[in-house]
Amino acid sequence: MKLNKLSLTVLTLGFAFLYLPIVLLIGYSFNESRLVTVWAGFSTKWYGELFADDQMMSAVWLSLKIAMGASTGAIILGTLAAFALVRFGRFWGHTLFGSMINAPLVMPDVITGLSLLLLFVAMGQLFGWPSERGSLTILLAHITFCTAYAAIVISSRLKEMDLSLEEAAMDLGAHPFKVFWLVTLPIIAPSLVAGWLLSFTLSMDDLVIASFVSGPGSTTLPMVVFSSVRLGVSPKINALATLIVLVVSIAVCIAWWFARKAERDAQMLPDEE
C-alpha cells in the first residue's frame, strides 16, 4: 500500500519535528554537564538547584495563583459570552461582540500587552485604580484574553447541545435557573473543564502581556525563564521543562482514562428488543 507508506512517513517526520526538541530537553535535564552538547553522565543535580532557586520558586507560585484566578474568571465570563453568542440570536452590536471574541485569538501579544498597559495607566490617572501595576493587573489582562479562548471552547459545545433537553426540563416543571443548574451545566461541563485547563496553560505560558502590565515585585515564571534563557542555556530550565512535561502528561493520562471509561460505558450494548 503506497498511500499508507506515504502517510506513515509524513506523520512520523511531522511528529518527530514536534517532539524531538522536547525529548532532548528531558534527556539533557539529567546531564551532569552544563553543556548541552556533551553528555557527562546521569545526574539529578539540576533539579536540586531548581528547587533551591527562591526567585524561580516564588515566580512559579505567583504564576500558579494568577493562572488559577485567570482561568476561573475566564470560564465564568466565557460561559456568559458563549450563551450570548449561541443562544440569543442577533443583538445590538452582535458583530462587534463576535469580533471581540475572535480577535484576541490572533492579536499579537505585543499589541495586547501595550494597549492593556496604557489602559491601566489611564485608569490609574482617572480613577486612582489600579493604583499600581502588579499581579492584579496581570490577572485582569489574563482573564481578558483567556475569556476569548474559553468562550470559543464552550460555545462549540453549546452549539452541539440539543435544545429540547432544556425544553424537556422546563416542561417537567423546572424553572429556567434550575434548568441551567440541573441540565445545561452538567452537559456543558466537559467544555468548562477544557476551557479552564486551556486558560490555565495560556496564563502560565504568557510572557509578553505579563511583562507589559506587571510592576515591580510581580515576576511570573515565564519572565524569570526568559531572563535566564537570554543569558544562555541553563540546565535548570531543562529540569523545569521536564517537570512541566511530566505534569502535563499526567494530566493528559488522567483525562485519557476518563474519556476511555466514558467510551467503555457507552459501548455497553443495549438488549435486543
Partner: protein
Amino acid sequence: MKKLLNCFSQGRTWIISVPYIWLLLFFFIPFAIVLKISLSESAIAIPPYEDLISYADDVLNIKLNLGNFHFLLQDDLYFLAYLNSLKTAFFATVLCLLVGYPMAYFMARAEASVRNVLLMLVILPSWTSFLIRIYAWIGILKSNGLLNNFLMSIGLIHEPLEILNTNVAVYIGIVYAYLPFMILPLYANLLKMDLSLLEAASDLGCRPWKTFLKVTLPLSKAGIIAGSMLVFIPAVGEFVIPSLLGGANTLMIGKVLWQEFFNNRDWPVASAVAIVMLLLLLVPIALFNRYQAKEAANEAK
C-alpha cells in the same frame, strides 16, 4: 431556526452585557488609548508622555502630534522591520501550510482510534511551555549544537553552519511553534469532508492526484484560511522567537516595539508602531473574523 425562549429574556440583557462590557473595557477601549498616546509627545515624566488635551488660562489646548508617525517614516529601521515581519510571517505561514496540510490530511484519513491519539499528540506540545520549547531550539541550532554536531559527524559538512541568530532560525521557530494552530483547523475541516465526494470524483474518472487538486483542496479552503490566519497574524507581531532565535540582527516589528517601550521608554513611538502594525493586520484579522462568523453560522444550521 433558533427561537428565543421568552423565559430567558429577562436574564438575556444581563448575560450579554457582563462579558460585553468587560471586553469593551479591556479589549476595545485600550486600542483607542493606544491611538491617543501615539498622537502625544514623549516626555520625561511618569507616565512618559504629554497629555493631548490641556486646559490652562481659559485656553483649551488640543495637541495632536503626528511626529511619531513621521518619525516612523523617516527612519529606515521601522520600514525594514515591518517589511521583514510581513515577509517572515508570510513565508513561515507557507512553510507551516506545506508541513501541516499533509499531516492534517493523513490524520483525518486515519482510522478513528488512531486519529484521536494523533490529534492528542498534536495538541500536547502546546500544553507545555511555549517559551521552553523555543529555548530547546537554541541547543539544537547553535554552532556547537546538536544539529551541527550531527551533520559533521556524518561528514555532510566540515564546519558548523551558522543557523542560530539568523532568519532561518526564526523560520524554524515560527513553523515549530505555530504548526499545531495550522493543523487543527485543517484537520477539523478535512474530517468533516464528505468522503463520498472523493468517491464520486474517482467514479467519474478522476485520478487520485487530480481528485485532490480539484475536490479536496478547494473544499478545504476554509480550513486553509483559518489555519493561515492563526499563524500569520500572531507571527507578524512575534517577539519571543526573534529575540531568542533571531539574534541582534533580526529585525521584527514585535521586537522593535518591545525595545521602544522597555529600552527607550518611548511610549508614544511604541504606540505609533502598534497602530501601524494594527492597520497592516486589519485586513487579515477581518478575514479571520469573517471566517469564524461563517463557521459559527454553518454550525448553527
